[in-house]
Symmetry: D2
Subunit: 336 residues, 4 copies
């Protein structure tokens, strides 16, 4: 397989830098050929670090003949247009999650991608994490019997920075943060979410309240196969990043994640104290690598990405229903 | 304090035997003077074991002059009448949970007890468990800031035996099993539950389905102070008794309970395997002792029990609302 | 099996009270008929609590016709004489560990017991603990292949109180505290200890130094089947009772015990903090019950106790060798 | 600080590839300029991957003007000569551990490095691990009072491959594997090891026995400040890489490492099963990065490496004493 996929990364924030590094160094048959950020000095700095082309203008990068694929790491509200333009230019697309802010956008994206016949992968990287993958495999093999209940608990150590603090740009907590958990729920349970009921509020941060987002939420839901689900998310965790997922089945239970790092503890008169888990980039770095490799593999072997446009759409639909449930204070059904 | 409280236990099933043993041996200023069970041979056997009086007829035991207090451990549907009769006879009452099957009964019980001026304590023993007590104390001291979310996960290793399998007699899963968790939610959060939304079903046992009870449920709820809650209960846990409670606050989180016993594990090619936790009587034996001591103390020092008639009523009200929510498939508000 | 064994407990300190309670209430076919302590008021108090005979004079109790067996819970240096006298009076004996202070005494005890034809059980109660029992069973079933290494870590929260602080009366740290671990080493590995090498000192408590005992020790040793061992003991543990045992085999490893109680933890900016484990009486209460039941069973069914005089002797021999190694600062071989 | 250190890596086995990757991509102010391996095709392959020079001849690489520093990752028995030659050529040296096979070699190396005035760092990367660093900091800050006992348990999932299976080339288990633990013992306790007593054997692998190495060992030792130590090492762990370290002090205990990965577990009728920890390269990848950064920093800022020639020598001295103790079956003192 001598072909090498030329990759360009657009949006050089925290996660764009991670993808750049990975495509530059860790993915066989891929070559990072360009990076792009409207903040020219950042684009240049990363471009020079890897000795590759850099752009401040996305349209220009799209015209680059060396590019086979783009990785879209810009703020969420820019995704739809950028994916559509990339598709029109015949580039394969790996887009950071969530795919779009609205369901309408998501549907347009899917149409454009289908029309262009390019690959579209949505970066729900937990699907490539070793622990979540093991969970999926165990469930599919029947290790816990029939899965009946999904529980997801997610606490970030800090509120979203920059544009992500604005729910109009990010989709707010349901989309920006918890769409990961919606995706895990659908994937691990092999079922679609049909009704959500949300409780929540802006309990922690004045800024979040002002912008109309929420910071602590509690979501119960149903699946179309009769199973049940619950997700709790918070934008604050004093003891560290806390991400736990549990799937209860007729014959067993799977536990993923943990609240503290067992590698160091100190026993004194106060008891035994553990540190919290490091932030997600540390927890999921290997998953990002696997995700990026999968994208290249799908392009080269003409396979359907594990997380595709429909998965991207579903997450947006669920988040939209969650917002509706929160605002109307009642359970909301989701029609697909 | 030379006075000694004469105690009679009625209902010598699993939990009646625990209370008998404790009052016989472990509570100062209390004396087990009689036991009662309609199954005469059982009453006699326990009575002889401790060298005390035994009755097959509750009414006769109530007339016993040596009795200052009764401990009611009979099936739930018998509680209301037995509490009321004990109150009428001027006996203090420690009743096993739940206090009654219906809200109407609960209200009658409270009136009868008030009229008689006797003590009534409801046996939600988790309030006397060292771990839950520590949680309560930590929360009240502000260690986690303002509590925002209560999570309770409860999985029993096996379905309820005997009469408890009949929801008409036991109140079903919400009352028989999860009223413990409702009580913990109210107590730890220092707030009342105002709305519940239930999902669930009889997924596991044919017998439970036939009798009209549920075996796996998922309950989201709100508190009157704006906080949120979630409780999951199941009548099956292949790996052992699994009871975990978590309270998330603005400044920290409290974790109570665990899924496995760390005392023994075996590392082989399969990984490292832990056993589950033993059944609740082992987990909470010390709590039962503390509960029984508290009851005697309340009698002797004329104090209000930590878990009183109102607490008993609240649990029944919440369970009743949970059943309504399940049947009507919508959130149900609770008026107090 | 209608026969009931009449039991008398001598020495009503911490552990004597535990055995009294258990024989009074928890062992079928046994009846606590008398207690004895040279501190008359203590003997009377316990005797009255259970409504049984009490003695201040051991010789008088030994003459009690209702006694079939004695449980010796006096200070260690009194054991040898008391065991021998009990044997001479034809009483079966359950003696607290260690059996004696010296090897000479231990040998005399064994002879006396053999001559009298009574049962002698030594109270290494860990053999009856569920976790250690499971370890023994797993090892014997070959779950970890051939065991190659025994590791025992034992930290008490506080120094020994009263007479136990005097190594002449207690045998010091090797006998009073770590003979439990020597016994576990022999039992779990099904092998005898043949050479010990000790490092240690009185690092923590001035009183221990003055009395000639040690408070932190590190002991490496060999077994007669080629396996290896290590035991560390300390008389101080700020975070709680810490007892862990590990057996490494060719195909797996068994882990017993843990340093902290997983039932409660608090997550804050400082991390997640667990409490230590409660003191041994809590950890091993069920083991004491099983041990006492075993003793009665051995008497009634004429079986050899699981922990007999030879086991008692071995522990004293190893401890004696440990003291010799410490004093001579070299490895010491043990001849049996 | 515009200067950039040109680095050449020699020995492109498992660990050489790790260092190459890190120097190529992750260390500011460093530039991987060449790689070298006597297996020409491997050198070429890595060289081409990074677009840098490659050599099959170490002497030639040493003459490369672009090289300021070499990273020596060849088999241990080649280290001494290669370090000395690098020093003679004025190159700074980061050598993989252990520094040399013999004490004589180690002393020659130190002299040569001193004479040349170059930096020498020995790659005991645990010193750069976050958990071990936190332990060091906590101990030095007095969090556990005065440290009294060091315990190190180390189990590799598999025997050493290739040349490392030959103790003449690798120094055997004490040097090749456990010198990490000796280094941790010295560093965390801030003390020198003065006497070792070894038990052990070739229990597991026929090949190890034939080559004269050991596969399971148990080592007790003393420090020059009166503290004590114990290290156990094994070349087999069925459940995964198991590395735990514990430092017990007068006021507390530090625990580092754990036997299983808490990120995934499966609860079934068999209990709750965790997987073991991944192999050391995963556990310590970040430590390797920090180590390599430190090396560059020491060169550019003319600082003394945290792990220098004396540390390298000490580890060899302790390992040599361990071998002597094993062979002579007695404690061996170490003179420095």
């Amino acid at each position: 397989m001598g072909r090498v996929v030329g990759v360009g990364v657009v949006g050089l924030g925290r996660i764009g830098i991670v993808h750049s590094e990975i495509f530059a160094l860790r993915v066989e048959n891929a070559k990072l050929v360009a990076v792009c950020d409207c903040r020219e000095h950042i684009a240049r700095s990363i471009g020079e670090k890897y000795g590759i082309k850099w752009y401040a203008d996305y349209e220009k990068m799209l015209k680059d003949k060396d590019l086979d694929a783009v990785v879209i790491c810009t703020p969420t509200f820019l995704h739809a247009d950028m994916i559509i333009r990339a598709a029109e230019e015949g580039k394969h697309i790996l887009t950071e999650k969530p795919m779009t802010v609205t369901v309408d956008e998501a549907k347009k994206v899917i149409k454009a991608v289908e029309k262009a016949g390019v690959k579209l992968q949505v970066a729900y990287m937990r699907r490539f994490d070793y622990a979540y993958s093991k969970a999926k495999k165990s469930i599919d093999e029947g290790k816990i019997g029939k899965p009946l209940l999904f529980i997801g608990l997610a606490r970030d150590p800090a509120p979203p920075p920059g544009w992500a603090a604005d729910p109009k740009k990010s989709g707010g907590i349901f989309l920006d943060m918890l769409s990961h958990d919606f995706d895990m729920a659908r994937w691990l349970m092999s079922a679609e979410i049909t009704e959500v009921y949300v409780r929540g509020g802006a309990y922690l941060y004045e800024e979040i309240r002002e912008k109309g987002d929420l910071d602590v939420v509690s979501i119960s839901f149903s699946f179309d196969n009769g199973a049940m689900g619950y997700i709790h998310g918070s934008r604050k965790s004093t003891y560290g990043y806390d991400l736990r997922t549990e799937v209860y089945g007729t014959e067993g239970t799977i536990f993923i994640g943990c609240s503290s790092d067992p590698m160091f503890s100190l026993g004194t008169r106060d008891g035994i104290t553990y540190s919290g888990i490091a932030w997600f980039a540390g927890r999921f770095y290997e998953a990002y690598i696997a995700e990026d490799k999968h994208f290249i593999e799908c392009i080269l072997e003409d396979k359907k990405p594990l997380v595709n446009g429909i998965d991207g759409l579903r997450a947006v639909q669920i988040a939209e229903a969650a917002w509706k449930s929160f605002k109307e204070r009642k359970p909301v059904k989701i029609e697909y």
